[in-house]
Symmetry: C2
Subunit: 353 residues, 2 copies
């Protein structure tokens, strides 16, 4: 589908939390590549990063960085994507973009391989026509929620989804992760909290997701959950509401999800559907009180799902409650991007999932 | 209502997190009392606790501890309440019990003064008849949710309430608070986490509330939210579903609340109702992205409410979403108990609120 067997890869934002995860996943998953170019701002250029036994020096990102590149993985924020992704495409590269910049663009597929990987083969999109183009990686909270919920949506239809998130520091980048760890050291040493990145005490606290809040009172993270769900499911009728909250956790998100289905589905059926779903692992031991926790999801590829129960507040057995945890840097970002790349590389589309 | 002007008070569980808060609230609110007796297990007996410039020695709790006591404030767990509250009543004391032991007992009022303080005057209950009896203090998550939601329920009726909690360590007692702080020091010093109380890493993690899980998949904390809401509102038709989660926060709970109302209520009306509600403070600054946080609620009497918005996933403007924070040790436990005591003391019932 437009990628050579051993593509030459560029990572934009190579020194960030997602960039480093992309690089380690390429190695871990033995992704075939002829060369890797690491790109970042002038501030980070010159940094040497270890990869597969060698050292790669980070280069400054410019419009000319993409000559000879087949696949460009962007994770440096929306403004960098807006400015440089078109240059990468013009140079002949396929772009997988982790920012929100192109996600609502009709010409750009928004893809979670397990859910709608087949869109990559659609000739509605450049990539499906074998041309260079942009593929958007969805928002982390959306990916994790939909990994847990899509099997139920496919089975009977989801009419309404109410999500409360417990989001990790990593979604705001490596600097916030470091600041959260620093605040634990500040606490232990009796110093005032370091708040350069966060602007507040984050340790022993939670706060509403600090994305801009619109006139309807929803913040941008919550809007993403609504509109990206509609795009990924290709269904604007599903009603979605979210409360997105940052908790003092390093790299895995948790989400409490309450669903209204179009038809009843009992617990055994739900568990069966989730057990069979690729990329999902059920962890739901009531007797031992063992359910998904961020520290279990961290570093793992699967989204963990537990607390599976009929929501008693919804009549006729059409309510379902779930609790999901997924690594924000893996399935929420870098892993999903690499799975898209694997799909592009594969002869048969099953590989990416 | 059965309490002398300057009652003699016993605090059962005086060395616990709630017990200490009870004692400091008595002083802070200048609660009139002729004497204070501090009671605890034999392990804690002999401990001296400072109060109002003097030192009170903790005595061992026995069936004979309540002689001469007018008001007994219990906060030492359900089994202690079950065993000793009847002895206190037999000795002529009014009991305000913070455990879940008597909350579903038809002869015991379950009271949040701002919401149903008038039940204390009802002759359905011993306390309303001027006799010694037991009054139950509700569950912390329930109190905080209902402080935020009752004004809307009174105005138009709440049909359904879906709550996701972000619960602090304090709900499990002073030992878990200390262990969470210890884990921050363990992290800073590179030691393995101390897990004697929690049995797991709590710092940088969240976990499903560790109360027993029933056959329907709901844990005990979630069931309390359902059945105590029914009792406090005296309305079994309200449908309630909760996901209760412990987050690494010390002493204030947060709750994401999604409501379905019986009739539409616009944002301005909701804000007006909450602005007028006693014990509630609206903190909802969208431009500055300032909403309730546990560290703001800690040590405060009011329940903070923000993120006030119409829930877009509910048709006809009947959906509301809110985010509330309240101090678990204050309004969630000790303050509510003291307010009940103030109500019993007052000539006019308004005082307790």
């Amino acid at each position: 589908m437009g990628l050579p067997e051993r593509p030459r890869i560029a990572i934009v934002g190579a020194t960030g939390a997602v960039g480093r995860e992309l690089l380690s996943l390429l190695e871990e998953r033995r992704f075939p590549c002829a060369a890797i170019r690491l790109l970042a701002s002038s501030r980070s250029a010159g940094t040497a990063i270890r990869h597969g036994g060698e050292s790669i020096v980070v280069e400054e990102l410019t419009e000319r960085s993409f000559e000879g590149i087949d696949l460009a993985l962007f994770s440096a924020g929306g403004s960098i994507s807006r400015r440089f992704a078109p240059a990468a495409v013009a140079a002949g590269a396929t772009v997988i973009d982790n920012s929100s910049c192109f996600r609502m663009n009709d010409d750009v597929p928004l893809v979670v391989p397990e859910i709608n990987g087949d869109e990559l083969a659609s000739n509605r999109f450049a990539v499906g026509r074998g041309e260079a183009g942009i593929i958007a990686n969805p928002n982390c909270s959306t990916i994790i929620a939909l990994m847990a919920v899509t099997p139920l949506h496919r089975a009977v239809g989801v009419r309404r989804m109410v999500v409360s998130t417990y989001q990790a520091a990593s979604g705001a980048g490596a600097a916030l992760m470091a600041e959260l760890e620093q605040q634990a050291r500040d606490y232990a040493e009796g110093r005032p909290y370091t708040t350069d990145i966060c602007g507040r005490q984050y340790l022993f606290n939670v706060f509403s997701h600090d994305s801009p809040v619109g006139d309807d009172g929803y913040n941008e993270e919550e809007r993403k959950l609504l509109r990206e769900t509609h795009r990924i499911w290709n269904d604007d009728n599903v009603r979605v509401s979210a409360t997105c909250v940052r908790v003092p956790v390093l790299r895995a998100h948790a989400e409490a999800i309450h669903l209204t289905l179009d038809a009843p589905l009992d617990e055994a059926a739900i568990r069966g559907l989730l057990d069979e779903a690729p990329g999902v692992r059920v962890l739901d031991d009531r007797a031992a009180n063992r359910f998904p926790e961020p520290i279990d999801a961290a570093g793992r590829d699967e989204v963990l799902v537990g607390r599976i129960r009929t929501d008693v507040s919804e009549p006729d057995g059409r309510g379902v409650a779930l609790f999901a945890c997924g690594d924000q840097l893996r399935k929420g970002a870098a892993l999903n991007a690499i799975q898209i790349a694997e799909w592009l590389l594969a002869d048969e589309p099953a590989r990416g999932a």
